[in-house]
């Protein structure tokens, strides 16, 4: 194609948009890789398709010292298991450089770059100044994201709709879709709704779908919180 032809093309060749994806976070608690692989392989065997080609964010913040672990070996092991590591968090600066060398991306606080020697900290805790308030019904197929704080919806949330927030989610109406609070990992996030009829609820990645929800506060005003690894449901006062 000649330069003239290229310049004559007025239609956009691309659009740059930011998207939000749920990614699997692998929180490494054991620096000895053979022990890690033994347990991880058992997990993978339970649901191999779930892990094949899955994008993985490796999180080393739970380790007393990230240098105890070889990031290069960890990445190689993940790839050998057909997972796709995309980023590392909580690594030291040398490990960050290694990760970049191995084709990983800069994401989240690791954007501070290899000059930072601070441990990466999880997203800011507690109730946020950035609360998003939605006053119209959230319809099927719509997705509302509050990546920096709480999300408050003052109407019904339909089946097939999705709410995501870094902080708390409040639905002053029936919740019939999916609600994912604490989406950046804040385990203190809670979900409040006037009528629990959700397809799925999640706090910091711990989720339950509607089958399990039917046994807990179904169709009641409910508060969902995370205690350890389990979602706890408590009935709110009926204000009707």
């Amino acid at each position: 194609m000649s330069v003239l032809e290229l310049e004559a093309r007025t239609q956009d060749a691309f659009h740059l948009k930011s998207g939000l994806f749920q990614l699997l976070h692998l929180h490494v608690l054991e620096p000895l890789l053979p022990v890690l692989w033994a347990q991880l392989d058992r997990k993978i065997d339970q649901a191999p398709k779930f892990f094949t080609h899955a994008a993985i964010v490796v999180d080393l913040t739970a380790l007393p010292d990230p240098a105890l672990l070889s990031v290069v070996d960890l990445l190689a092991g993940l790839r050998a298991r057909h997972m796709v590591p995309v980023s590392v968090r909580g690594a030291n600066s040398a490990q960050h450089l290694e990760a970049l060398d191995h084709g990983l991306a800069l994401m989240g606080e690791s954007a501070k770059g290899p000059n930072s020697t601070q441990q990466a900290t999880p997203a800011s805790p507690g109730p946020s100044q950035h609360a998003q308030v939605i006053q119209h019904p959230v319809r099927s197929g719509q997705r509302i994201e509050a990546p920096e704080g709480d999300l408050i919806v003052m109407a019904a949330v339909g089946h097939g709709a999705e709410l995501l927030a870094a902080g708390h989610i409040h639905v002053y109406g029936p919740l019939r879709g999916r609600a994912l609070a604490g989406m950046n990992g804040d385990t203190r996030a809670r979900l409040f709704c006037q009528r629990l009829e959700a397809e799925l609820v999640s706090i910091a990645g711990h989720y339950l779908s509607s089958d399990a929800l039917k046994n807990a506060c179904w169709q009641q005003p409910t508060c969902v919180a995370l205690q350890g690894n389990r979602l706890q449901f408590s009935k709110l006062c009926d204000t009707r």
């Binding site: 099927s140 197929g141 719509q142 089946h159 097939g160």
Partner: protein, 285 residues
């Protein structure tokens, strides 16, 4: 919502209203309802045009009984092959009713936003009601039909997938219309329940009005009962509201009245009781 200006207006003075008849789900009664509502409005003296946006799978002309009179279509006008007056077909039964048919042979790519906008602007000068019969789905054809709408009639059957798709299309209406994009006042939404079978609702086989309005949360325009009259009318190319009296016809006429701002309660009386009530002036139980 009804306000004094609509009730006081006469057919000559009403400003043009562009209403899209949409649903998301296919086969719920959009074309039947577009024809019935348009004919109902025209019968009351409002100059009305109904436009078929289903390029390639057109069937509005069949339901209106004018398929043999289609020479030029919507795409011809957009592409400049014909003028609007050449393409518009005047209904033989009702002189305020016009149809702008779709093309059977072209595909949806021929529809352009500017083209549709220009045609609608021209039509607004002449017509009081412009009914846009949308195709099913949420892709280009449906998006084109709803883009310039001031109001929407969301046609819904009392069953779960139709309600879910209607919810979806409501989301699309509030985000992908010109009014949404330009931050104008939102499209006025109306719920039209069609193929409603009271017995089946009573038995619990079908969703009831309360369940549906709970989920969709938009004002109810009408409840059209499941009726043999509908199939009979479309097979003969007559809009339900121009056909012989039936339960569906009465329900559509009530829906037209509500569209014109009148408050008509939803009766428990059977349609025959209501029809006699209308003729003899008694109030039904």
């Amino acid at each position: 919502m009804s306000n004094n200006s609509i009730l006081d207006s006469t057919p000559e003075t009403t400003p043009a209203r562009v209403i899209v008849v949409t649903s998301g789900k296919g086969g719920v009664g959009k074309t039947t309802s577009s024809a019935a509502l348009a004919a109902g409005l025209a019968q009351r003296g409002y100059k009305t045009v109904v436009i078929d946006f289903d390029i390639g799978l057109r069937n509005l002309d069949l339901v209106m009984g004018c398929e043999r009179r289609v020479i030029f279509d919507f795409i011809n006008v957009i592409q400049g092959d014909a003028s609007l007056s050449q393409a518009l077909i005047k209904d033989r039964r009702c002189d305020q009713l016009f149809i702008l048919p779709a093309s059977q042979t072209r595909d949806k790519e021929a529809l352009t936003q500017e083209g549709v906008g220009t045609i609608l602007n021209t039509l607004k000068k002449e017509f009081q009601f412009i009914i846009c019969d949308s195709p099913a789905g949420i892709e280009k054809g449906a998006l084109m039909a709803l883009y310039y709408a001031d109001e929407a009639v969301v046609v819904t059957n009392p069953e779960v997938s139709s309600v879910r798709d209607s919810d979806r299309i409501l989301g699309v209406l509030s985000s992908k219309s010109q009014r949404a994009e330009q931050g104008l006042s939102p499209i006025k939404e109306h719920l039209l329940l069609t193929r409603y079978a009271t017995e089946r609702v009573r038995k619990g086989d079908m969703l009831g009005v309360q369940d549906i309005t709970d989920i969709l949360a938009i004002p109810l325009l009408g409840i059209i009962p499941e009726s043999k009259a509908v199939l009979s009318a479309s097979n003969r190319g007559i809009p339900v509201t121009l056909d012989t009296p039936s339960d569906a016809k009465l329900a559509y006429e009530e829906a037209v009245s509500r569209l014109l701002g009148q408050t008509i309660p939803f009766h428990k009386a059977s349609w025959t009781q209501r029809l006699f009530g209308k003729i003899f002036g008694s109030t039904p139980a």
